[in-house]
Subunit: 240 residues, 2 copies
C-alpha cells in the first residue's frame, strides 16, 4: 500500500519578491509527514489569475490532495477563491452559512460587516467550509483542493481543522546520523547501502561549518525494522 | 520594456519531508528583485528523476531563466546534473577543466580525489561552469538553466557568481506602509487606489498580533515617481 500524495500551492507576490519568507510550507510538510501523506511538490506562484488556475488544475490532477495558502482575504489582490472556482468550472457567490459566521463575528466586535468583509463569504459552489478558529473567515475544500489563508497563525489553525478528516497512510519514520566526514569520503559505501535497502530513502545532507565538512545522513521509510537495520549498518560503516 | 522572467527549482526530499527549512528561495528572490529579474514561479520537487526532468523542461520553456538548487554533490542521491542533461538531450561526463579544479583542491588538502569526488566533475555537454569559491565543486549553466548547490553558503556564492553575467531589467522599487486597521476596513479604498494605478502592484499583507489586526500595504513598480504618488495618496487615505 502506498501513501496518499499531496502538493502545496503557495499564492503570493510577497514570497516571490523576497519581501516575506514563507513558513507555511515547512509547517505543512512536517504535519503531512506525521500523518503519512507524502508531499511530492510545492509551487509558489504570484497573484496572477492564469498562473493560479493552471497550477490548481495541474496539481489537482497529479496528486491526491492539494493544499493552497494565501489570497483569501477581503482586499482586491485576494483572488484565490475565484481562481479555484474557475479551475473547476464552478460558480461562486456569497454563501449563507459563511455569511452567518462572519456576520456574528463582526457583530460581537461591533465592527461593520461591510462589502469587503462580505467578500470573504464568497465560496465556490459545492465546497465544504474549513473551520478558522483564529479569525473566523473560513477556508474551503473543493474536490481535492483545500484552500487556506496565508497568515501563518490562520494557516496553521486551518491545517489542524482539515488534516484529521483526511485518510493518512503509514507515517514516514526517519532516523539520522551526523557524520563529521566530507560527503566525498562516505559516498561510495553509502551508495552501496542505499542499493541494499531499495525500499528506504537514504539521503545525505552536507554541511560546512568553520571549514569542517560533514553530512547528516537521513534514513526514511515506513518499515521501522528496516530503518533500524539500515541505521545499524550505517553506524558500523562509519564508527565515531 | 518588460523585465526578464525567472523561475526557481528546488530539488530535495529534505524540504518536502519537513526536515529542512529552505532558505535559498528567499535569498534568490531578494537578489533577483534587486537586479530587475522577475521571479514568477518556484517549484520544489523530490530527488526523483522524472519529476526533475519534467519540471526543468516546463520551466525552461516558460521563463527566461531557471535557477536550480540542490542535488549536485558526490552521493548517490545527487542526480541533478544527469537530469539536466536528460532534459536537454545532452551527453554528460567528467570534464577536464572541472576535474582539474577539483583535483588541485583535494591535492592542496591532502585528500584523496576518489571516484565519488570525481562525480562532481560530471558536467553536461556544452555547459558553462559556475564558479564556487566556497567548496570548489562547480555549478553550471546549460541553455537558460543555472544549476547550483543546495548548501546555503555555496548556493549564495554561486548566485553571486552568476547574477552579474545576466542582463537585468529595471529594479522593482517598493514602498510599504503599516496600517493598524483590519483589512476589511481598508479594502474598498485600497482597491480603488489599485485601479487608479494599473501599472503598479499594490499588495495587502494582513497580520494579527495580540488580538490587534493590521496590514502592511506594499506598493511596487519600476517607475519611482508613480510609486511615490501612489504612496502619498495612500497615506492621505489612512492618516495615522
Amino acid at each position: 500500500m502506498t501513501n496518499p500524495t499531496a502538493a502545496m500551492l503557495v499564492i503570493g507576490d510577497e514570497i516571490l519578491s523576497g519581501r516575506t519568507r514563507d513558513s507555511n510550507m515547512h509547517h505543512l510538510a512536517q504535519e503531512l509527514t506525521k500523518q503519512g501523506i507524502d508531499l511530492k511538490e510545492v509551487r509558489v506562484v504570484s497573484d496572477d489569475r492564469a498562473a493560479i488556475v493552471s497550477a490548481v488544475r495541474a496539481l489537482s490532477q497529479a496528486f491526491d490532495h492539494v493544499f493552497t495558502s494565501g489570497g483569501i482575504g477581503p482586499t482586491h489582490d485576494d483572488i484565490t477563491a475565484d481562481c479555484i472556482a474557475e479551475a473547476f468550472g464552478r460558480s461562486i457567490g456569497v454563501r449563507d452559512d459563511a455569511r452567518a459566521l462572519l456576520g456574528a463575528h463582526y457583530a460581537r466586535q461591533n465592527m461593520e460587516f461591510n462589502a469587503a468583509r462580505q467578500r470573504m463569504a464568497r465560496i465556490p459552489e459545492g465546497a465544504a467550509l474549513i473551520d478558522n478558529p483564529v479569525s473566523i473567515a473560513p477556508g474551503f475544500t473543493l474536490e481535492n483542493v483545500h484552500v487556506m489563508a496565508g497568515v501563518p497563525s490562520v494557516f496553521t489553525a486551518m491545517v489542524a481543522s482539515v488534516l484529521p478528516k483526511l485518510t493518512g497512510g503509514q507515517p514516514l519514520l526517519s532516523q539520522s546520523l551526523r557524520l563529521m566526514r566530507g560527503e566525498g569520503e562516505i559516498a561510495e559505501p553509502l551508495g552501496a547501502l542505499a542499493e541494499r535497502y531499495p525500499a528506504l530513502s537514504i539521503g545525505s545532507y552536507p554541511f560546512q561549518r568553520d571549514g569542517i565538512y560533514g553530512a547528516n545522513i537521513v534514513i526514511r521509510g515506513t518499515n521501522g525494522v528496516e530503518v533500524d537495520a539500515a541505521m545499524t549498518e550505517l553506524s558500523k560503516l562509519f564508527p565515531a
